[in-house]
Symmetry: C2
């Protein structure tokens, strides 16, 4: 697997995404097959031939468009990023983070887990790892609105007016650090520590992050021009 990825990243924004077109249909079939093969046998069991057979397309179609297993992994991750996913909106930060954590835990404990298979693949494929890193970054960026809404509702401490850029003592919230503090324990327990899933963990991890935030743990000096 090489590091040159241009020709193996055909997915995002490409004309093939036109809904209903034949290429879009083939892509959907092939990516469904990749997910199924990944979930069943992990990325070690992933082959272009196996994917083509399961998708019911000719393997030269797969080779031409995705080139190799790395290209398939990149595209299946890109497709996850194209999903119309919306962060939860429950009316409180604690509720939002709990809902987010429940969704994460569910995706990790379901067997077979496509999410865990992707993480495993990212340890072994530089292409898959980079695609996954982009997907995570997008998802955390999407979730920053949870923190913005909490600030707007007055749930979290922010010193200084919103328009008082760089005013002495003004702070803003490091939303990403808060989101990571809230979600990391779920990944850590389920994926790395392989603990039995604890149904209370999503809410507890969310509540701990909110308490830390309320105590100023993620407040940083407002940056000039932010």
């Amino acid at each position: 697997m090489t590091d040159s990825t241009d020709s193996t990243e055909p997915a995002v924004g490409a004309p093939e995404r036109r809904p209903g077109g034949r290429t879009a249909r083939v892509r959907a079939q092939v990516l469904d097959a990749v997910r199924a093969e990944l979930a069943e046998a992990g990325h070690e069991g992933l082959t272009v031939e196996g994917v083509a057979a399961r998708a019911g397309v000719h393997r030269t179609t797969v080779y031409r468009r995705w080139r190799d297993v790395g290209g398939l992994l990149v595209d299946v991750i890109a497709a996850a990023g194209e999903m119309d996913w919306q962060p939860p909106d429950t009316g409180s930060l604690r509720g939002d983070l709990t809902a987010l954590n429940r969704e994460i835990q569910e995706s990790l404990v379901v067997r077979p887990s496509f999410a865990v298979a992707l993480m495993a693949a990212s340890f072994h494929s530089e292409q898959a790892a980079r695609a996954q890193t982009r997907l995570w970054a997008d998802r955390y960026a999407q979730c920053e609105i949870l923190v913005e809404r909490a600030v707007a509702r007055g749930e979290l401490p922010v010193r200084g007016a919103r328009d008082a850029r760089g005013a002495r003592g003004a702070t803003e919230l490091d939303a990403r650090s808060l989101l990571i503090a809230a979600t990391a324990p779920v990944y850590h327990q389920v994926v790395l520590l392989r603990a039995d899933p604890d149904p209370r963990l999503p809410e507890r991890a969310a509540a701990a992050a909110v308490l830390a935030a309320a105590a100023g743990a993620f407040s940083v000096p407002r940056t000039e021009g932010a």
Copy 2:
């Protein structure tokens, strides 16, 4: 790789550990070779032949004692658990957790990283995963003393006297949840999100967990007889 592990878990407490003995010397050479091969090529590149060649021992010696790659992985993880590791003792919980996080971050960002190679292996070897889960459980158990010392110093809120078992309203700290909240963001950022290592992260993650703990995030009702 099978699930029966007795014959592939020869390490802990076995007479071979007698310091200075020939078998102990062979084990040290072989495990050093496993670590080097893992760090260089990951577990996918790990073979009994490669380990034997690097260790300078006959491959039948390796087959007889460790049987296969799974046995080697289990023993290298067991050896990590036998290390005389002590949790930090800086005089404050925040300082202790920061020191712990620095040690964790260092082990994850060093290239090649033996710790990351082991995590990758645990996605693919059930034996390695179970051995790693035991090692993590031991390490977190060892670290509970950080929380106990903080409680004894009065840094953290615990309602009810230590000997008032189960008294109404008495609480104790869920030390493990606190430790996971403090350390999980470091693993998450470095291993899963593959972010550039942030030298401030160890202290920030530690500080956030301490603030959450001080606000009661990890306080649970004291259990009868605890």
